[in-house]
């Protein structure tokens, strides 16, 4: 065969070249319109940087009176406690939902119902859930526990259900074929296959929950967030930066612990 007789081009997702260019143009156009419409003009950004720099100087040095210091510690412990409790309650609620939301082991109607529950939990940001929880049970850590439990379910059930869907069904079938009951089949066929992932997800969610618990206090759901809001409202920037440093320290420790534990398990 003479050279150049075979025409070859890399297969493309676009049926025609014109469609490709039109798509790219549309995407770029949408970005430009968004920036214009939201008023994100370069001039305003520069001005903002100046303001932020001025504010940053107010943040230094971080300072807290002894009373404020006790308040930070007290409320930070509350945040961590909220995270611990709601990680536990969240996982307890999540596990049955995860099993029911796994397509390969759950009947269709149950699967749909539980996937729906998960979708609802994932649809709302923690702050929105916290506002509703505060309305329901009043200010304080209980609202925080409800919020984070609810958010944990959306995350934990979804990821665990996906892991259950990925297991080797052959082993499950073998347990069933030997005469195991449905619960025994779960215990011997399914659970051993998802245990490592379960442990990893639990620690990961614990670390996310610590981060969440430091912020939901802003809407009154307990923890360090409320102190942060008060400090901002009083323009007490030294105090604000002391609180922020405390939050950063706790979150870093939680992330570190989480990373180490997860590495050990996988």
């Amino acid at each position: 065969m003479a050279a150049g007789e075979t025409r070859w081009e890399r297969p493309s997702v676009f049926p025609r070249r014109e469609v490709k260019w039109f798509t790219y143009l549309a995407v770029v156009g949408f970005f430009l319109w968004s920036a214009w419409d939201l008023g994100a003009a370069p001039g305003r950004i520069l001005e903002g940087v100046g303001n932020a720099a001025a504010l940053a100087t107010d943040f230094f040095p971080p300072e807290a009176t002894p009373r404020q210091r006790t308040r930070i510690i007290e409320k930070m412990l509350e945040s961590v406690a909220i995270a611990m409790i709601s990680t536990l309650t969240g996982i307890l609620v999540s596990v049955p939902i995860a099993f029911m939301a796994a397509e390969n082991i759950s009947p269709r109607p149950l699967y749909t119902l539980n996937r729906g529950l998960i979708a609802i939990s994932r649809a709302f940001n923690a702050i929105i859930v916290a506002i509703i929880a505060v309305k329901a049970v009043g200010f304080g850590p209980l609202a925080g526990i409800i919020t984070i439990t609810f958010k944990t379910v959306g995350f934990f059930s979804k990821l665990l259900a996906e892991d259950i869907e990925d297991i080797d069904m052959g082993s499950v079938e073998a347990v069933r074929a030997a005469g195991g009951s449905p619960i025994q089949t779960l215990l011997y066929g399914v659970v051993p296959q998802i245990i490592p992932r379960f442990a990893g997800l639990s620690v990961y969610r614990w670390d996310i929950n610590i981060r969440t618990s430091t912020i939901i206090g802003i809407v009154g759901a307990g923890g360090i967030g409320s102190v942060l809001l008060t400090a901002f409202n009083r323009y007490d920037y030294g105090y604000v930066s002391a609180i922020l440093l405390a939050i950063i320290a706790v979150v870093l420790v939680a992330e570190g612990v989480s990373a180490v534990v997860r590495r050990r398990y996988q």
Partner: protein, 278 residues
């Protein structure tokens, strides 16, 4: 004794995997079912213990009709049916012992199962069987540390501890090298013979079937097209099983005026094939 009659399976996709198959496995014989991929061998075996629900037909094990059992009765019946799988189907993250004891789950409560609290006799029996299959001392190894041949030995032990009335074996050697296949088949048939358990085995390696089976049945496109001893399986028989019915034989049947009825089968006759071979 396992007696299957007129077994049919049509999948929801419309595929007719089994078109009325009759088969009996009795005493302590080893019956090998051969046939090309897609002939319905696995479907047949899976319909016996209803891992796949048959569409029509009857499956009787020692006089109990299995196809109509409710969930509880089916679980009880499955305790008496050992199954060995192509991909071993062990739980990789459990130990060898836990995998073997899985064969006894039907006899303990869920709580006992959860606590791994099996009766001491059962554990003794499991240890004996592990010795027998050559895995003595490996009870606490996790299955994912084992080789393929060792895994299939665990699979055999799990089925044998059930003290089954029949062993269903689905392509036990397809994931193994030829030498390991031979030893695994040898072990499987020996252990079944020692215990007097009949074996129904799906296998596509005809040589292994010829060496180890008492009787061979051939499945082609959902129909039983051959039945006979290993000696009776000749070239013509293999042709029938792997390439569809022999045209000559079809003509014979047509002239005899008998249309192939449901469950009809060609029983290959050695002398006939020798004279009329292609």
């Amino acid at each position: 004794m396992l007696a299957v009659s007129n077994l049919e399976k049509t999948y929801s996709t419309g595929d007719e995997a089994l078109k009325g198959v009759d088969l009996a496995v009795e005493g302590s014989e080893t019956v090998a079912m051969i046939g090309p991929s897609g002939a319905g061998k696995s479907t047949f075996i899976r319909c016996v213990n209803r891992l796949t629900e048959p569409t029509a037909g009857s499956v009787e094990l020692d006089g109990t009709e299995l196809t109509t059992l409710d969930d509880d009765a089916l679980r009880a019946a499955r305790r008496d049916i050992g199954m060995i799988f192509q991909e071993y189907n062990l739980v990789e993250r459990l130990t060898v012992m836990e995998n073997v004891l899985t064969g006894q789950l039907g006899y303990v409560s869920t709580w006992q199962a959860f606590r791994r609290n099996f009766p001491p006799e059962t554990v003794d029996r499991a240890a004996d069987i592990l010795d027998r299959v050559g895995l003595g001392g490996m009870a606490d190894k996790r299955v994912d540390e084992l080789s393929g041949g060792q895994r299939q030995r665990v699979g055999i032990a799990r089925a044998v501890i059930q003290e089954p009335k029949i062993l269903l074996v689905d392509e036990p050697t397809s994931s193994l090298d030829p030498e390991t296949s031979e030893t695994v088949m040898e072990l499987l048939t020996d252990i079944a013979a020692e215990r007097g358990v009949p074996v129904l085995i799906n296998i596509h390696e005809v040589d292994l079937a010829l060496d180890h089976a008492d009787r061979i049945v051939g499945l082609h496109d959902g129909e039983l097209v051959f039945e006979g001893t290993p000696d009776e399986l000749d070239e013509a028989g293999l042709d029938t099983v792997y390439r569809g019915a022999d045209p000559d034989r079809l003509t014979d049947r047509a002239t005899n005026g008998s249309q192939p009825a449901e469950g009809d089968r060609v029983v290959v006759n050695t002398t006939d094939a020798a004279s009329g071979g292609v």
